[in-house]
């Protein structure tokens, strides 16, 4: 069944008609030609499709496009609107990828991790749950980024890349 929607993606508004079954990921890639977010599994299991929806990281493969009508969608491309984001630069400096397929999802997810840490959100490895401040140790980064798989196993370089930006943003000593 078709439905008319307006999507706001990386700062641009587009009106389109979609079948209600269309995922946000397919709407971005197949309809709007925004191929930054990738399809790895289509089941919420890999994180390659991660985008920021009103600033919160989500798996766009499990979001129906019709439900994103009033939201602001940001892909890794969108984070580079004013030149490379600190995360982009850190990923390049640390060689935090090989094939690059998972990278846009890693970048948007890391942006989400930094925002969540700035709000003091805990994780499964946080020792003191009652603490109001979050310290993004390597163990914290690994746990918080566990929803993003990398088949090239660039993890050893992704963690220091995220750590560098975390330190610059004051959520890591």
């Amino acid at each position: 069944m078709d439905q008319q929607i307006t999507l706001q993606v990386d700062g641009a508004r587009s009106a389109l008609t979609v079948d209600t079954r269309t995922s946000l990921l397919d709407a971005l890639r197949e309809r709007l030609g925004t191929t930054s977010a990738k399809k790895g599994c289509d089941h919420g299991q890999c994180g390659a499709c991660t985008v920021l929806l009103d600033g919160r990281r989500v798996n766009s493969c499990l979001v129906l496009a019709v439900t994103a009508e009033d939201a602001e969608v940001t892909t890794s491309d969108g984070l580079a609107a004013d030149g490379p984001h600190a995360l982009h630069e850190a990923f390049v400096d640390h060689d935090a990828y090989q094939c690059g397929y998972c990278t846009p999802g890693q970048i948007t997810s890391a942006a989400g991790v930094l925002a969540e840490a700035a709000q003091g959100w805990p994780s499964a490895v946080t020792e003191d749950l009652a603490a109001e401040r979050t310290e993004l140790t390597d163990a914290e980064i690994r746990e918080r980024m566990s929803g993003n798989l990398c088949r090239c196993a660039a993890y050893a370089n992704i963690v220091p890349a995220v750590a560098e930006v975390a330190a610059a943003q004051g959520v890591r000593a």
Binding site: V58, V66, T67, P122, T126, L129
Partner: protein, 337 residues
Amino acid sequence: MREFRYEKAADPAGAVALLAGAPEGAYLGGGTNLVDLMRLGVATPDVLVDVRTLTSDLVEELPDGGLRIGAAVPNADLAADLRVRQRFPLLAQALLAGASGQLRNRATTGGNLLQRTRCTYFTDVTQPCNKRAPGSGCGAVTGLHRNHAVLGATDEGPGSPHTCVATHPSDLAVALRALDAEVRVLGPGGERTVPMADLHRLPGEDPSRDTTLAHGELITAIDVPGLPWAVRSRYRKVRDRASYAFALVSVAAAMDLDGSTVRDVRIALGGMAHAPWRATVAEDALRGGPATEEAFAAAAEAELAAARPLPDNAFKVPMATSTLVRTLLQISAEARA
């Protein structure tokens, strides 16, 4: 995926009215389970009523020190709520042990409780499964069942329409079961409250039904009653990898100690049954007794005496026993510190 109409309602009553008129329709929360199952052809609603932001998204104080959690509160926000972290650590830990940061941002409290089993025969429409296709048999009981139930399952053989050895996958539900939470539900006939003890059911003779809710009943909120000694509580989850995996076995526990005597205790087990499993046998064995490793082990063994494991999941019995003992030891060590 079957075609469907997408609907929004002005308020919860409007959503209930929409589904009352759509026998094959479904509510849509964050969609992190339902959209996946629709893509697999396991769920085939013809109408989706979007309730992701329709019910309360607030965590509110109850007069007894407990909390009322709106059904629309995302899993991530609930885990981050300082009152949850301070008063009910097991609840925050259960949420944080589940899924990924992305999924927790989107998933709702109501949807989490009603997520379906991860049994691989249930999610594969080419396989027999009494839960998905009643009467087709159970592929798991003589197939891949390493992750399946050891308590309260129905095993009358692979061809029986009653057989189901699935587990309930929610971590949150296990913590809420230990806390004696109550689920507030709105249906065509009005409001009612369902204790967590009665929400999820064992398969019995009808594995197709996960819960006691009727079609179209909308979860609006969860009440967690005050329990001052839950400040010393834990959720411990054992899984195949350190993160982003469902539980093989999990334990939600809170313990109230008077010196070295157990004054009161709450224990629920996950990954063990078709519903979160309240360990009442272990609780009764512990209450009034010594808080020692020997007593914890004896209580765990008494609880697990009812286990009927299958060939490939017998490991869950000693795993649950030792996980329960470790969890109680950890809580008592914290209480003494």
